[in-house]
């Protein structure tokens, strides 16, 4: 076949072009470490890689969420620890104050210690995170949730709990609000009895204790009201029911409960009995009640009855409060464990996604380097061919 001179040069040059661009491509791949530089290099892999990188980014996002969840929960856990310690100390002090041999002055000094505990707990309740946001106010995180007042503290927060998406299908509460921590009792908390603060008599109570949880009225609230008639006969009625003669030292029973009463009530004195959750549980009010009663002189029989009754009620309330704080702390601990577990899964997933991503778009360096040498040889061969070809001319010989 007749070959034109132009064809010979054109073909050599286009072979040089081909070899050069293949050489350059491998060079680019090696420099970037990626097999897929442009979507067109492997459209399917490029498109899949976007999906995987989104999954990777989201997994990382959830991991960040877990870091911040862990921060909040760890902080809450340590605060709950110190609060439970404070309640335990308060309980010891109450036991100490219940000792009948203490003088007013002794009690007053116990009250001072309790005041310190109350302030400590209040400080913890108003704790903030590193950004100055209040931890226990629900969504109200810009102002202190608890404010000190004469009856303990008033709550300004709400009953919401902030949640974070710590995994694709898991929203986790990362805070507990003040109501849940300081104004709640565990659902298993029993009954609490509370003598009216205006009681003028010296009636005191022990209990209540549960004797028949199957009683149809069990679980209700009760009000025991005493009446003294003109003849000095003392009777009591429950929730406005029939009058029954009062006999000191004799336990009275109602709604599956038993309450032992001592002392002499005055006309109109009353004792409220109800499930702990419905008796306005409030750690700050409990502590304040104890302080108030310890700081009042206990000279008269009625004063002493008030002291005993208040300490009695408060002890139960402190127990309930401690149980509650420990329960919340346990749930926080469980969440921290869950975070660890999800973290483990998440790190695995991240590794898998990275591997998949790398399989999709990254370069097999060994293969690429051998390709690189091959292309280099090819290019050199094309160059040599060109030189040889351009040297071949009959004109050189004539």
């Amino acid at each position: 076949m007749r070959i034109s001179t132009l064809t010979m040069f054109d073909q050599s040059v286009s072979s040089l072009h081909r070899q050069q661009s293949a050489f350059l491509k491998v060079g680019q791949q090696i420099a970037s470490g990626r097999r897929v530089l442009n979507p067109s290099d492997d459209p399917q892999a490029a498109s899949l890689a976007l999906g995987v990188s989104q999954s990777l980014a989201m997994t990382q996002q959830y991991m960040d969420a877990r870091v911040s969840a862990r921060n909040s929960l760890s902080q809450e856990e340590s605060i709950l620890n110190s609060i439970s310690g404070a309640i335990a100390s308060a309980k010891t002090l109450v036991v100490q104050a219940a000792n009948g041999t203490l003088s007013d002055a002794d009690r007053s000094s116990v009250a001072t210690e309790l005041r310190g505990i109350l302030e400590t707990v209040l400080g913890q309740a108003n704790a903030t995170d590193g950004n100055g946001r209040y931890l226990f106010g629900g969504y109200q995180d810009s102002s202190p949730p608890f404010e000190r007042n004469a009856s303990g503290a008033v709550y300004h927060g709400d009953t919401n709990n902030r949640e974070l998406r710590i995994d694709s299908s898991r929203l986790m509460g990362v805070a507990d609000n003040g109501v849940e921590i300081f104004q709640s009792v565990h659902s298993s908390a029993g009954y609490v009895a509370r003598a009216d603060t205006d009681n003028a008599g010296s009636v005191t109570f022990i209990g209540p204790s549960v004797i028949d949880a199957g009683d149809p009225d069990y679980g209700n609230n009760f009000e025991i009201t005493f009446a003294v008639d003109g003849g000095g006969n003392i009777s009591y009625s429950i929730d406005g029911g029939p009058d029954t003669t009062y006999q000191p030292g004799q336990p009275i029973t109602f709604g599956g409960l038993s309450l032992s009463l001592e002392g002499v009530p005055a006309d109109g004195d009353s004792i409220a009995v109800g499930p702990a959750g419905e008796m306005d549980p409030d750690l700050f009010a409990t502590l304040q009640n104890i302080i108030d009663v310890l700081e009042s002189p206990a000279q008269t029989a009625s004063d002493k009855a008030r002291l005993r009754n208040t300490l009695n009620t408060s002890m139960r309330e402190l127990d309930n409060s401690l149980d509650n704080v420990l329960t919340v702390r346990a749930s926080v601990g469980a969440k921290l464990n869950e975070l660890d577990a999800v973290d483990g899964v998440g790190s695995n997933r991240i590794l898998n996604y990275r591997q998949t991503l790398s399989d999709l778009v990254d370069l097999d360096l060994v293969e690429a380097l051998s390709e690189y040498s091959l292309r280099q040889v090819g290019l050199q061969a094309a160059q040599k061919t060109f030189i040889g070809l351009s040297d071949l001319s009959l004109f050189k010989l004539i």
Partner: protein, 540 residues
Amino acid sequence: MSMFSIGLSGLNTAQIALNTTSNNISNVYTPGYNRELAIVEQKNHGGVGVIAVQRQFDYFIASQLNGSTSTLAALDSYYSQVSQIDNLLADQEVGLAPLMQKFFASLQALAATPSDPAARQGVIGAANTLTAQFRSFDSYLRDMQDGINGQIGAEVAQINNRLEQLAELNREIVVAAASQGEAPNSLLDMRDQIVAELSEHLDVRVSIQDGLTYNIALNNGQPLVTGTRAFSLEAMASTADPSRLVVGYNDGAGNRVELNDKVIKGGGLGGLLQFRSETLDKVQNSIGLMAVSLAVGFNDQHQLGIDLNGDFGEPFFAIGSPKVFSATGNAGTAVISAAYDDIAGLTGADYDIRVVDAATGELAITRRDSGETFTGTLDGSGQLAFAGVELTVDDPALLADGDSFQLQPTRLAAAEMDNLIHDTGKIAAAGPGGASGDNRNALALQDLQNAKLVGGRASLNQSYASLVGDVGIRTNIVGVNRAAQAGFTAQLQVAQQSLSGVNLDEEAANLIRYQRYYQANAKTIEVASILLDTILGLRA
């Protein structure tokens, strides 16, 4: 016939052959040059003569090569355009995907610390970057549209230029043939070269009239050159969308007709038009669709939340609106505007709207990419909703039968995408009634990352991944076709060159051959002269 005459005819022939050879050598690299051959013939009464210096040209091979060149030029121009999008989408660091991921990660940080000003600023910063990237994608693609408009103008100018040259060469060739019996090879070479060059811009049909004149026509038969007359093409604003240039045809009667893009096939011009309608419009629409889906979907959720001032959230993103163009030839003067309706209905396609019955407000609507057609009727307030868009006719009484409009729901939407929230307090992270620590709406916004926002079918990332896949596949296919076509064209070039190309070794041999031939004929004359001297010497 004397030896002198015979020798002389040989000398003349050798001279012409040497000239032909030197012409071949000197034109070895001249584009469009066809190798020439001196055709010699024995004279009746002895001696030799050159009957023609023939150019070695095969019209069949040449037109095959032109067709192939045309296809290759189209693929070349398509490829060089689509690679630009391929490169745009290749960016791993600042492509849309990582920026969307960063934006949603900033929402996660907001959910973790909803009242933290730094987290809020993070959201605003990520939103600024993301919207800027949407705008930058849009402006890149719009620059490409502008570039294509410019290139269409340049291609059309090149084509017109060559059409005029062809008409002129037709004239010169006819005149030369009339005066000299046949046309000079150089003119014929030049004309074939211009047809070859024309093929690089546009695929044309060539027919030969009287064996002498080339008539050129478009693929649909519309004439471009008939004899000595050239018609011209023109880059004109489309009647349906004045922002884009299309090719117009000036017929002899002074009328300008807009040519359908499909009529222009092959060549750089055909490749450009095909790329624009097949890929560029679609990519622009897809980016716009993602921008609208993100902006409207996000705004809807943001407006359900409560900001730090206790107010409901304001729209977070600004976004463009659907564009409706009235065709330039409309008899009516009604103006149609459009707004986004239910974004789950958006398709990313463009629509042609034609007024079927102006009195009842009946419209025929054609989806441009699939050709699907349906009818709709304007309601009492001159409105009609379809495909995620609500049309509003300013005054239905001004519509006329047959008026047409083009709706581009998302083409230009990304251009106006912007972040409207610059005050950290105005991010609505809280749910209704919530306070500063409330992150319910932040969580809901974060959940949009996986929500089927785009056309109700795909998440933003899925939609982007499918766009990247589409462009990648398109680029890949065009690249493969282009390589195959280049190989095919190269083979045809070899065949064409095999006949018409100059081989220097061959010419070197010819040079020697004709030199010897010349010397031999000179020797003939010398011998004749000696013979004559011998005869004359007898007398003496």
